[in-house]
Each structure stands twice: as structure tokens, then as C-alpha cells.
């Protein structure tokens, strides 16, 4: 299933109340990183977040990712078991390697944000010829 659709409404999961009516609380999403010589691939697990709910900002070394849930359980449902936490996501990471901001690519599929952070040229490993 691709999940790049806009948040069309479903009858059972209405849109969440507006941010003004409730204090915003965030979950820190789980994530994983893979590194190679070219850069980093960051996968952030944010189930319930579609493409248009993701905000990514890079301010100097600070990378901030926010994910807004597009649906929450219907308020009229009677809870029987509640183990999930229906909060928006926020992840703040400090980069210690310079990345090429213009080349950052992001994709959201099935509740996973895949972020590609290519290293800036000067941060890439260099092969030194021994003469």
C-alpha cells in the first residue's frame, strides 16, 4: 500500500481536534540509521502519518522532524483496551557531520519516513595517494 495520499476522511477515524483545543504532546518516534561513505539513510517510524503530515527542518546542525497524525480513534467509541498513544511525533537530532542540504530527499511510505542525508563534499572520506 502506498501512503502518499492526502488525508481523505474515513467515517470511523475522524480528523483530530485542532491544536488550539489541546496541549500538544509529542512522541519520540523510533528510528534507525544506516551510514555509508556517501551519507546517511534515516528511517523514522511514524505510523498514522502521511506525506502531507511531515515537516522536516534543518537549522544549522539541528534536524527536526515532526509528524502529524491524520486520524485518531473516534471520540465516541468506548475504550476496552488502550495501549497506543495518539500523539503527534517529534524527533530532534543534532548532526555532527555536514550534509548537503540541497540534496536531502524524503519519502513517506506505510508510516515510515525515509530520509536520505548526503554528506557535504568536504565531509566525505578521501583517499590519500601515497606517492
Amino acid at each position: 500500500m502506498t501512503t502518499t495520499s492526502t488525508s481523505s476522511t474515513t467515517t470511523n477515524l475522524p480528523t483530530p481536534p485542532s491544536a488550539e483545543t489541546q496541549t500538544r504532546r509529542f512522541r519520540r518516534p523510533p528510528y534507525e540509521v544506516e551510514a555509508d561513505a556517501e551519507g546517511y539513510k534515516l528511517n523514522v517510524f511514524m505510523p498514522g502519518v502521511a506525506k502531507d503530515g511531515v515537516t522536516i527542518s534543518l537549522n544549522g546542525r539541528n534536524l527536526e522532524i515532526e509528524g502529524k497524525l491524520h486520524d485518531r480513534p473516534n471520540a465516541s467509541w468506548r475504550p476496552i483496551l488502550t495501549e497506543l498513544h495518539w500523539h503527534d511525533y517529534r524527533l530532534r537530532l543534532e548532526l555532527n557531520v555536514r550534509v548537503n542540504e540541497a540534496q536531502i530527499a524524503a519519502q513517506v511510505t506505510d508510516g515510515i519516513l525515509r530520509l536520505s542525508l548526503p554528506k557535504a563534499e568536504e565531509a566525505k572520506p578521501r583517499r590519500i595517494e601515497v606517492l
Binding site: 500500500m1 501512503t3 474515513t10 470511523n12 477515524l13 509529542f26 512522541r27 519520540r28 523510533p30 528510528y31 534507525e32 540509521v33 544506516e34 551510514a35 546517511y40 539513510k41 534515516l42 528511517n43 517510524f45 511514524m46 505510523p47 498514522g48 502519518v49 502521511a50 539541528n62 491524520h70 486520524d71 480513534p73 473516534n74 465516541s76 467509541w77 468506548r78 475504550p79 476496552i80 483496551l81 488502550t82 495501549e83 497506543l84 498513544h85 500523539h87 517529534r90 530532534r92 537530532l93 543534532e94 548532526l95 555532527n96 557531520v97 513517506v108 511510505t109 506505510d110 508510516g111 515510515i112 525515509r114
Partner: protein, 139 residues
């Protein structure tokens, strides 16, 4: 119940920390200790009811419907499957999971529907007619 919710610590991590994190994560997976922990958490679920149906919700990021099986047997709802590799495509990154939920009696097996969207599974289990609340008219 282990809460997966943590207050935002505004903790800054360096890339080295990330790497350490992901190494630890791989390690725990390799030993099969934590199952989906870190990847899909401990597979928590919500269960609700309204007058018409029960609603089970689960977080399954990275899972597609082809990789998902849902069964209902003797009032036990079982969701199982595997997540596809996220980044590297290495086969060992495929993670199998399952979660069973006891649902109240009175579910109509023919009235179960599932929607998987953006990593959230929503199962709707329609109640049998006789289980639905009824308003009795007083003549």
C-alpha cells in the same frame, strides 16, 4: 503495560549515537530477544466498541497488506505477518510478528473488515444483530 510514550526529551544525538543505536538494535534482533521492539515496538493495540461494532487498531509501520494475515477464531483475533526490509534489503531484516486479542463474544465473522493505511491497521468487527443495543418501544 509498558508505555511507549516518552516525554520529548529534546535530546540531541550525534550521528555516532545514531550508529550505536542502530547497532544495538541489529544486535537485539539477531539474538531474537526483542522481536519487533525498536522496529514495531511491542505491537501494542487498542480495542474500542460502539453500538455497531468493535474496532481494533494496531501500529504496523512498513507492513503491506500482502504481508499481513488476520484471523478470527473462537473470539480470538490474531494479526500476524512480516515487515519488509526497510533500508538495506538484507533478508535478515525481515521481522515476523504476531499479536492476539481477545474480542468479546457476539462478533459476526462475516462482518470483519480491515483497512491498512499509513502503517495503521484498523479492523472493524461488526456485532451480531442480537448484540446491538435496542430501544424498546413502550406502547
Amino acid at each position: 503495560m509498558i508505555s511507549l510514550l516518552r516525554p520529548d526529551l529534546s535530546r540531541s544525538l550525534s550521528l555516532e549515537d545514531w550508529l550505536r543505536d542502530s547497532l544495538l538494535y541489529d544486535d537485539s534482533l539477531a539474538r531474537g530477544r526483542s522481536g519487533l521492539s525498536g522496529r514495531l515496538g511491542a505491537l501494542p493495540a487498542d480495542l474500542y466498541e460502539d453500538t455497531e461494532a468493535y474496532h481494533a487498531l494496531m501500529e504496523l509501520p512498513g507492513v503491506t497488506k500482502e504481508n499481513l494475515e488476520v484471523t478470527l477464531e473462537n473470539s480470538v483475533l490474531r494479526v500476524s505477518g512480516k515487515s519488509h526490509p526497510v533500508a538495506s534489503g538484507a533478508p535478515e531484516r525481515v521481522v515476523e510478528f504476531s499479536r492476539s486479542l481477545a474480542v468479546p463474544d457476539g462478533v459476526n465473522p462475516a462482518g470483519v473488515s480491515a483497512e491498512l493505511r499509513d502503517g495503521i491497521l484498523h479492523l472493524r468487527l461488526a456485532k451480531h444483530e442480537e448484540r446491538k443495543p435496542r430501544t424498546i418501544r413502550i406502547d
